[in-house]
Amino acid sequence: MMAVSVLVLTLVLFSIFTYSFVDVNVPYLENLYTGYYSAHRILLTSLYVILISVLFGCFYFSTKNVDKLKNNLKKIVIFVILLAIIAYPAALTFDIFNYMTTAKVLFLHQENPYIIYPIEFIDDSYLEFTRATNKTALYGPFWIMLSGIPHLAGLGNFILTLFSFKVFIALFYIGTIYMIGKIDKNAVIFFALNPLVIVETLVSGHNDIVMIFFAIVSFYLFFKKRYGLSALAFIGSILIKFATLFLIPVFIAMAKDNIIGKKIDKEKAFVYSAGFMFLIFLLSPLREELYPWYAVWFVVFTSFLYKNKFLQNLVLVFSFGLMLRYVPYMATGTYFGFTPIVRNLLMIAPLVLFLIFSWLKIVFPRLLKLLR
């Protein structure tokens, strides 16, 4: 439990840390703006690396004693949510502002966000800090409809809306954990306490968790032979962010097994789901770039593959590498120059080291025992 305590404590520090990134252009948070980020980039980047490393380290060691963790999981998850939800969501990415602005286009201005750019509302104060305002809605229609809930809950107040979005996303995180538990209790921890999932979902508030929630619901309903509802949930998932389109072959294969009277092999379904979602993850640079939060797409299915410890460790190490992708921009403040190369190197380096270490473990087991 020591590792979990450190994980929770680190999360407290991480939440405080995020406030050093408050944007000068967000007038609603001017009291929280310190300018610390622009003045101490290297210090903050170092802090980020330390905090992320500790989070991943704690997670790795806490999963060594799963039984104890399972007994206290509910309490830990509640703590994690409460701590992460208070964090400033735009420390690493600005997507949450984009969700808010898109919701505003539809629900306040009553315009179609698929044809009207946010930038067309020239008096809108959100334009000062929202990125990609020269693009029409980037997400599926179901997400845009759902985003009306936190938008309305915000009652027109920026801070209330911002945190309504965070709470809304957190509800889907809870829902996903619940559904994973319904399918397989042993799969919950790997997803629920994965630092990448916590940071990208609960801190940054990415909507990928909403897409994943509906996908997991769809799997659950399929296993329960409620095919109509399963299909509906699956369509809902696709209409959030489209990436789960890549799960169609898995559902077709399961439906085929069902028709011929063969028992559905859940593990096999999740292996393929993880594989397909990893494939779309790898293809994402064709559209934009490899964003760390896209890892949620395959991490969720990997959580069901707990029998394969090597795979889970590999995914965990890769998740850590993905979180390091933020480092070059954080340190330099530019997306150009060496940033793209360093970003990729930092992402791959932990993976390569892990593979070398695993290979050495096989080839020279005695040597490693001696080193330990």
């Binding site: 201005h109 009553q110 315009e111 179609n112 698929y114 044809i115 009207i116 067309e120 509302f121 020239i122 008096d123």
Partner: protein
């Protein structure tokens, strides 16, 4: 004297081609499916469906302006081919959509939307439409008797109709 006259003519010759009246930078679209094409009716149905997709004041602004542009280009092409009856029908549609653009802007204003950029765009569009209509007017007869097969002829007051269309645009300018 001869030299000065020559110089004056020469100067005018050199300068005059460079004098040009202000022209709109607004770009009209390529012609879409024309009447007679098997996809023409489908395109009209599609346009009707699109009307609901382009909801909201700004959405309707875009929709009506694009439809007005589209039908103006259609009319221009039909005038080129001397298909005056069809051309006038297209022009009528263009006028109708153009009138709606202005109404939509008024509605946007009443909904507290900043329409400054839209007003500029509409003025540019009006200028372009005005230029096109003037050009077309210069190339068509004042009156034309349209004689369809097995039907009684129709008198088309082309200039009069075009003047009405021009007036609709001039109100914006």
């Amino acid at each position: 004297m001869k030299f000065s006259r020559f110089s004056l003519v020469l100067i005018l010759f050199l300068i005059l081609p460079q004098i040009s009246f202000a022209q709109s930078n607004y770009v009209l679209p390529y012609p879409s499916f024309m009447p007679g094409n098997k996809f023409y009716k489908i395109s009209l149905i599609w346009d009707e469906i699109k009307k609901y997709w382009y909801f909201g004041d700004f959405g309707q602004f875009k929709y009506n302006l694009s439809q007005s542009d589209k039908h103006l280009v259609e009319a221009r092409t039909l005038f080129d081919y001397k298909q005056y009856l069809l051309a006038l029908s297209a022009l009528e549609k263009s006028d109708m959509y153009f009138g709606r653009v202005f109404k939509v802007l008024v509605s946007a204003k009443s909904n507290n939307k900043n329409v400054f950029e839209k007003e500029i765009l509409l003025k540019e569009a009006s200028q372009k439409h005005f230029e096109e209509l003037k050009k077309i007017r210069g190339n068509v007869p004042e009156v034309f008797e349209w004689r369809p097969e097995k039907e009684s002829p129709t008198i088309l007051n082309l200039w009069e109709i075009m003047d009405d269309s021009i007036e609709i645009r001039q109100k914006i300018l």
